[in-house]
């Protein structure tokens, strides 16, 4: 058993509708963010990865396993769908234990793993003994997450796992994802809350219209699109002066004052020369520069660069 998820030239068509087309992808352990607008093929990719649908062509291997070997495959993969489904009239605890028994655990093992899983998602046992129908949205999300990780999978696929969580619960979930990623699990997350997920992601997969458009470390992907203008935030005492100086050098294509007036967003087509000139300006002492930081070095911005306005909203 290797530790890679490999898509080889995978296509999936639903009749004449394209799901994904000729996707070749290798995902090592760690946290991977799946980014794309609605209808881009993210969920199809996740369904293929979790063995829920079979590819029309190509092959998928998850840690060397095929979904045809159902018993081993499904024990390796944990899936938390975006849908808020629970059987009616059942407690969170029953849901967890039954789910584990569907994975083939004995009742005793299922109870132990369910307790461990509840601790991980920080849902107390009293709440777990209540009927899910009375749960808040955040608690429902937690119990779904607990169900996905309870059987200790090596690959965890989470479709919109932060939906419905309050800021505190969201921070807890992020910490849990980060911890799982550090422990060597494959964590594949699709989320619209990109700014939060980006902070913990090791790599990003960008998809639109069923086609893979970029993959890799977020910063590496950003490097690959250097010809696109990049936005940099410069914190300084005289932003207007800095802007006029930068425009005079002919590298900037756009400048926008920070709302607090103590900084400026500059968009440049040549980031290397931009930093070189910025150093010169700082040395000359015309402007007192306090901080410089990329303002769009995240998956969302990269995505917008790559697909422009055609990709729809994220």
């Amino acid at each position: 058993m290797n530790d890679l998820i490999v898509f080889e030239n995978v296509s999936k068509f639903y009749g004449e509708v394209l799901g994904v087309n000729r996707v070749s992808l290798t995902i090592p352990p760690g946290i991977t963010t799946l980014v794309g607008p609605n209808g881009s093929g993210k969920t199809t990719l996740m369904n293929l990865l979790t063995g829920l649908v079979q590819p029309s062509s190509g092959s998928i291997s998850v840690m060397g396993l095929s979904s045809r070997d159902a018993n081993k495959f499904f024990a390796t993969v944990g899936y938390c769908t975006q849908f808020d489904f629970f059987p009616r009239d059942i407690t969170g605890w029953q849901f967890l234990v039954d789910s584990l028994m569907l994975y083939g655990m004995s009742k005793l093992t299922a109870i132990q793993l369910a307790e461990e899983s509840l601790q991980r998602v920080q849902l107390d046992k009293t709440a777990a003994w209540r009927k899910i129908d009375g749960y808040s949205k955040g608690m429902r999300q937690k119990i779904r997450l607990a169900q996905a990780i309870a059987h200790r999978p090596r690959v965890l696929v989470l479709d919109e796992p932060l939906n419905g969580l309050d800021p505190m619960a969201r921070a807890e979930a992020m910490a849990l994802f980060e911890a799982l990623g550090r422990q060597g699990i494959h964590l594949i997350i699709s989320s619209h809350v990109l700014d939060e997920v980006d902070r913990i992601a090791d790599r990003v997969v960008l998809i639109t219209g069923g086609y893979l458009i970029a993959e890799g470390n977020i910063h590496q992907v950003r490097q690959e699109v250097r010809e696109k203008p990049m936005q940099v935030l410069v914190r300084c005492d005289r932003p207007e002066a800095l802007a006029s100086k930068m425009f005079a050098m002919n590298h900037c294509v756009e400048a926008r004052l920070h709302p607090d007036g103590k900084g400026i967003f500059l968009r440049t087509g040549d980031v290397d020369q931009f930093y070189s000139i910025l150093n010169e300006i700082a040395t000359e002492g015309i402007v007192k520069i306090e901080a410089v930081a990329p303002a769009d070095d995240d998956a969302n911005a990269i995505y917008q660069y790559l697909i422009g306005s055609e990709g729809g909203t994220l």
Binding site: K42, T43, V53, F85, M101, L102, M105, S106, Q183
Partner: protein
């Protein structure tokens, strides 16, 4: 540089055989089916005729009680194949009503809630999923069909002053077989039709319609064309023929209009196959919303 210790432990313990996992789904199914009071009310209604039949058997085998009731004639209270055929027929149609209420609860809710991706991401196949739901429906319908029928048969065997059960074993076996065939048919049909309809109430209506509308068409065909083959669309008549033959009861319908057993079995098998095709088409883990 951060160095992380990879100490995540995957589960490597023993797992149960795949077939045993169906029981977890059957339990889900039963929980869904019995989560409404209407199911309980229907179930109680289904048990009223067997209680009446039990009283009839008691009266039939107890001359003193018959005397107290105004000396009801023994012909009225004859406990024979015809009596058990009536019991089986009544219970079967009550089971049909129960199935048309429960089957949509088992399938429609899962499809509407997009539950299949999460359920099928476990080590359970689509066939296993349907089997789990089928088991829940089968178990519930059994409690109102062959179980009470056989209990009544056993009671008659016990209460009869003369040895009765051994010489009428065909009635018992026939009731069991007849009820199992009926449950198998209506369970499959109920699940299949429920998988194609989004609203539970509509699904309940459609299950009845699929049985009764073709029966009406079949009766018209039989009446207009003077042919017995119109009965092939008439599930109630086909089942009556089958139950009569299984219990060894003489039919009241003219022999010329009787359908061959082979034709009845073929039609019922076709209905089951069609139901399985419908389930195979609809029970998929594909999520409706793409994103």
């Amino acid at each position: 540089m951060s160095i992380y210790k990879h100490h995540y432990r995957v589960y490597t313990g023993r797992v149960t055989p795949i077939w045993t996992r169906i029981f977890a789904l059957a339990r889900y199914g039963l929980a869904e089916a019995w989560s409404t009071k209407i199911t309980t009310v229907l179930f109680v209604i289904c048990l009223i005729p067997p209680v009446g039949s039990l009283f009839t058997i008691y009266l039939s085998n107890n001359p003193a009680a018959r005397l107290l009731m105004g000396n009801v004639g023994t012909r009225v209270l004859a406990i024979d194949g015809s009596f058990f055929l009536r019991v089986l027929t009544i219970q079967s149609w009550l089971a049909m009503a129960l199935a048309s209420w429960i089957a949509p609860r088992l399938i429609t809710l899962d499809l509407v809630d997009n539950a299949l991706p999460i359920l099928l991401s476990h080590s359970i196949s689509r066939f296993g999923y349907v089997l789990g739901k089928y088991a829940a429906l089968f178990a519930t319908l059994s409690t109102v069909t062959w179980v009470p029928c056989l209990l009544l048969f056993a009671y008659q065997g016990y209460a009869s002053p003369v040895p009765w059960a051994a010489s009428n074993l065909r009635i018992g076996v026939g009731m069991l077989a007849g009820a199992l065939i009926w449950i198998a048919l209506i369970s499959l049909l109920g699940l299949a039709l429920s998988s194609w309809v989004k609203w539970r109430a509509v699904a309940t209506g459609i299950i009845f319609a699929v049985i009764l509308v073709p029966a009406g068409v079949g009766a018209i065909v039989t009446g207009v064309l003077h042919t017995k083959w119109g009965f092939l669309l008439n599930v109630p008549v086909m089942m009556s023929f089958l139950w009569e033959r299984l219990l060894g009861v003489h039919s009241r319908i003219d022999n010329a209009l009787q359908l061959p057993t082979r034709a009845i079995v073929t039609m019922l098998a076709l209905a089951c196959c069609l139901s399985m095709v419908m389930l195979n088409t609809r029970i998929r883990a594909r999520e409706v919303v793409r994103g």
